[in-house]
């Protein structure tokens, strides 16, 4: 057995390890700590590096980066495809667009003053855009079987409403950001241009929101993964031909037909038996 004293680390390393290991996810902590104790020990016991402060600092940075990587990778895997990440990302873009707008205006008051009229006009246009989007959107997202009722259905509708509202807000902020530089010189032209830009941005945004909603699990609302081609294009009118996407949590499959046929005109959500999970 190796004597404990022989494997001891200097005070700085011990405390650094103790502080940084709190960043590491709990189930990786023991292995991370063991790895870095060994790395630091070997660094100190290499004769030619014994008094090299540079490598100590460099390795300390590596230790922190390694811990941060483990934490962000865990967060990344946990949040990947979740509705929280989707809403957070759009909200983050809205925040960035607002900050840009504030920087262009100089103050919140000036921003509020210059955007009030544009906001009211955009709000009116948004009603029309929503109407057009719903009228022209694929009906596929509505064919969801039994999951369209109850708490799942309510949660899905709330998520869609929040996503659409954020997308419209982002469309408004982007259109005002683009038109702001010419607003001081040509206020009327800038206002008209802002409205003209808001409409396509909002239409595209809502189109994306519908598509994104369709390609999410109807139970957990995570993005569906693993698209697989099923069938052959030449058999389109005879048998199933399209793409299948699966929920990583095993809740179900989404079958998206390659083209609309009389017997299969929309995407179908097939719930998997919970006993298979």
């Amino acid at each position: 057995m190796t004597p404990v004293g022989a494997l001891a680390l200097p005070w700085f390393d011990r405390n650094l390890l103790r502080a940084v290991e709190k960043i590491v996810p709990a189930d990786d902590r023991a292995e991370w700590s063991r790895t870095w104790r060994a790395e630091l020990w070997h660094m100190h016991h290499r004769a030619r590096r014994a008094k090299n402060l540079g490598i100590t600092i460099d390795l300390s940075i590596g230790l922190i980066c390694d811990a941060l990587w483990l934490r962000t990778d865990r967060w990344g895997r946990a949040l990947h495809g979740t509705p929280t990440l989707c809403l957070g990302s759009i909200a983050g873009l809205c925040l960035l667009a607002t900050l840009f707008e504030l920087a262009l205006n100089g103050s919140w008051r000036a921003f509020e003053h210059s955007s009030r009229g544009q906001f009211e006009r955009s709000l009116f246009a948004a009603v029309l855009v929503i109407f057009v989007s719903f009228a022209t959107a694929s009906r596929g997202h509505i064919d969801q079987g039994s999951t369209s009722k109850g708490i799942c259905g309510l949660k899905r509708q709330m998520f869609f409403a929040a996503k659409s509202a954020l997308v419209l807000l982002l469309a408004f902020l982007l259109s005002t950001d683009i038109c702001r530089p010419i607003h001081a010189l040509f206020p009327n032209t800038a206002d008209a241009l802002q409205l003209l830009m808001f409409v396509p941005f909002a239409l595209l945004g809502l189109r994306w929101a519908f598509g994104d909603q369709e390609r999410r699990c109807k139970q957990c609302l995570r993005s569906l993964a693993g698209p697989a081609r099923v069938g052959r294009p030449s058999h389109n009118l005879l048998e199933w031909n399209g793409t299948e996407l699966a929920c990583k949590q095993g809740h179900g499959l989404l079958s998206v037909p390659e083209m609309e046929t009389s017997w299969c005109d929309s995407s179908r959500w097939v719930e998997l038996n919970p006993a298979w999970e």
């Binding site: 057995m1 190796t2 004597p3 022989a6 494997l7 063991r34 790895t35 104790r37 060994a38 790395e39 020990w41 070997h42 660094m43 016991h45 290499r46 460099d58 390795l59 940075i61 590596g62 230790l63 922190i64 980066c65 390694d66 941060l68 990587w69 483990l70 990778d73």
Partner: protein, 101 residues
């Protein structure tokens, strides 16, 4: 594994590992890359299954009165990726010296 996503530093680290530098410190020394690049890159390579990590046998380390270290080995996919990276970055082979046994 998507080869297009292998960065230059990841390719350099993979090359060092395939030349026999199997510990993090050795890879740092051989490549000249900072530890803040090497250790997270090793994690990514392991996640992408291009390398796998193992622990030295405890008895071996105890006999030498030192803690056991985690070492990295290039997988079959990793070897293919290292070869492709060498073809893509021809100077890579000259950047990392051959490890003396």
């Amino acid at each position: 594994m998507n080869m297009a996503r292998l960065s230059h530093s990841a390719a350099l680290i993979l090359k060092a590992l395939s030349l026999g530098y199997c510990f993090g410190l050795d890879v740092m020394e051989a490549t000249g890359l900072p530890s803040g690049t090497v250790y997270p890159a090793l994690r990514r390579l392991e996640r992408d299954e291009l390398v796998e990590s193992k622990w030295e046998p405890e008895e071996e380390a105890t006999a030498k009165q030192r803690p056991a270290r985690r070492y990295y080995e290039v997988t079959r996919e990793g070897k293919a990726a290292a070869l492709a990276a060498t073809q893509r970055y021809p100077l890579l082979a000259h950047l990392v010296p051959e490890k003396r046994s």
